[in-house]
Point group: C2
Chain length 121, copies 2
């Protein structure tokens, strides 16, 4: 029987000292939608949640995976997760859009490789 | 000025050969809700998306972070992301619930440490 493992690159990014307004949920959704588009991904669903007094979570479900952001505006900090798969999809392109729009002073990227599919003994 | 960095453990888990029905969105939501509870987290919002012909994504937004699952039932494969923070929260407890309920033949855990908050130069 044929193995169907697919290696997928997932980016976990911590953004520090962002100049953008991390409490602006509409801005964050726009940025993520643009990032998904640049990555070559199709958005099939989304969830935007506002915390009180501050903080936003945005999840975009893509054709097979997701992009998310969660913000702590009181620290100018955001946690981004870019998990895209599929022919021609490019998580780095999504990250470039987010970096340009949120303007972090510094950031830390962790690049994780995941094996999706069937693992046979 | 005081630094407010918080080290958070994030678990990325690939589940192979699951015995549970990975196309059952209600089951998956129940499992994640139970996992969040066991981790000591509070669910503040959720998004469940069904793919056609098969596949489910469930995102739970927690008081500060999230738990998610995305499934490929055709491969008995699921990708789980457990990102919980806060006093007394335990991502391992969430993972134990998911492992027991979805019964993977094998799995691979990646444990990532993220630094949340303000980074000063």
């Amino acid at each position: 029987m044929e193995s169907t493992m697919l290696k997928i690159k997932q980016l976990l990014v911590d953004l520090y000292g962002c100049r953008a307004d991390l409490d602006d949920d509409e801005l964050l959704q726009r940025v993520l939608e643009e990032a998904a588009e640049k990555a070559g991904s199709t958005v099939v669903n989304r969830l935007v949640h506002r915390f009180h007094p501050v903080g936003v979570s945005v999840f975009l479900i893509l054709a097979e995976t997701h992009i998310s952001i969660q913000t702590w505006p009181e620290h100018d900090y955001a946690a981004v997760d870019i998990f895209v798969c599929g022919e021609g999809n490019d998580p780095s392109a999504a990250w470039e859009v987010i970096r340009e729009r949120l303007e972090p002073e510094s950031h830390e990227i962790k690049e994780i490789t995941r094996s999706i599919g069937e693992r046979r003994a």
